[in-house]
Amino acid sequence: MKLRRDPWGHPRGLALVTWIYIIWSLAPVIMAIRFAFNEGRSRTTTQGWSLRWFWQDPTLSVFHDPSLHSALEQSLTLAFFAMLIATPLGIGLALGLQRWRGRGSGIANGLTLLPLVTPELVFAVGLFMLFTTAFKFIGLGTTAQVIGHVTFSVSFVVVIVRGRLQTIGSDMEEAAADLGAPPWEVVRRVLIPLLIPAIGASLLIVFALSIDDFVVSQYLASGADTTTVPMRIYAQARAAPTPALNALATIMLAVTLLALLLAYLVFRFSTRGQKGGSAIGQLAGLDARIDAGGTK
């Protein structure tokens, strides 16, 4: 009789599917990055190695082509302001909602969750209509773009911070109050320090969402100087003359991954000697992303 398959063995078929999927999902991006380092002008075949399309080329490189580096600047500007505004708004909202029981809390909760499941197109059309009609005094442009980015990222901050508040529990606050700390001191000496990992994760998520955003940025743009990196890529992807576009995308990705690394280090540092949670998972906002399931 033939030896039966080992019932405790590794499911090789599943492993194969998984690894093929992972290669399929990442290899194209790696190739796109590879083309950014081409010496030649091709974006479809490898042609040697150089940094020509990053800064060496005197006119066509990201560094020297104003249309490319202004997109980079615009993307970073939007991400910076979105972080600066969305994070505190979201933290306040999370702290408030966590305690808010009874009348009005259902509506408030719904209002914070709804943006997570609203397609970007609906967001974008709405804000576009708002800024071209009732809010003409703001109009389209950088301000509108920042507001748009804040609108769709606040909810992510709320989910992350509330998740952390739930882990912390109410005992910490009660203990602090019991020991004589007035409410403000409870927030300052206990809640905020304990929320630092969540705040870090929030900043990171808002940054990534903003950098990644295409639809809202496009609808609320007011011209060439408000073009972001994804908009630039969208406009030229099919017709770009050189790998400079790949170089631009590569820089964006590097910036995001750098932010991820930085946040990870901050996270590790700020939670030294504390138990709980997988550092990477919490930091990557993975928990929150899974919980909230946002797809922005």
């Binding site: 590794h10 599917v17 992972i22 808010w100 943006p115 609108t151 992303r289």
Partner: protein, 302 residues
Amino acid sequence: MAPRWVWRLLSAPGLLFLAVFFLVAFYAVVAVGLGNVTTQFQPVPHWNPLDWNVGYLREALSNLAPGGQMWPVVVRTVLYIAVAMALTLLIGYPVAYYAARCAGRWSGLILALLVLPFWISYIMRLLAWTNLLASDGYASEALNALGVDRLFNTLGLMEGDDWLGGQPVTVIIALVYGYVPFFILPLYASLNRLDQRLIETSRDLGASAAETFRRVILPLSRPGIYAGMVLIALPMFGDYFTQDLMSGSPNTNMVGNIINGYVQGGPDKSLGAAMTMLLSAFLLIFMAFYLRSLRREQREAE
């Protein structure tokens, strides 16, 4: 404990912000969609419900209804998304299952690799495919060398050998590629939470591996599947850029492209707003379903 007003005060700025830029913004869509236009075709929103003009909404409805001008687009959109979702389930489930339950010492690395696409801009991921699927791109050449294009041609899924030249297959696969990560992660989470002892119990009670999967694992991971499905269906219905970058041909237009065309392009912004209203109403069903399950989970967590 701090008095209640302290907490409401803390949440006030955020709520106000969302109320204005989310709710009022959506109301602006309604006001424009039910408004009028100037002689230069500039939309004139009607903020007062008493002044609402249903002309554009009626036009949008008749356009998108069976027999209407845009009906084929609606059918195409639903078809593309249905196929893309089926493929996503087919690819995503085994991957999520393996990563969550069998990966062993590789689980950390695999999870990191599954999360990685989240940090790569969606547009950049599409850019990568425009490089590879261009007529002289590596993927294009490989596929054609293997005869995949001819196979697809005979199956009627493709015309010619230009993968970026208005091929429905390309658009659907690009949708799958774009949204699979968002499906895998919630499913991963729900499979990861699944109690190993339940599986062992099932086996102990005499169920084979396949039966255990069908009678225990699958029913328990169903909420994760639904959540992931809804999660990718919603943005797919509002997607226009995937189609634009992967095809750009009117023959593969989806509803998102139509709305985008009206709002960003021509003089029919009001019609675009009316269509946005219809799309939102349609998607509200999915959203309500998802929010309900999310709230239930939150309550359980509390």
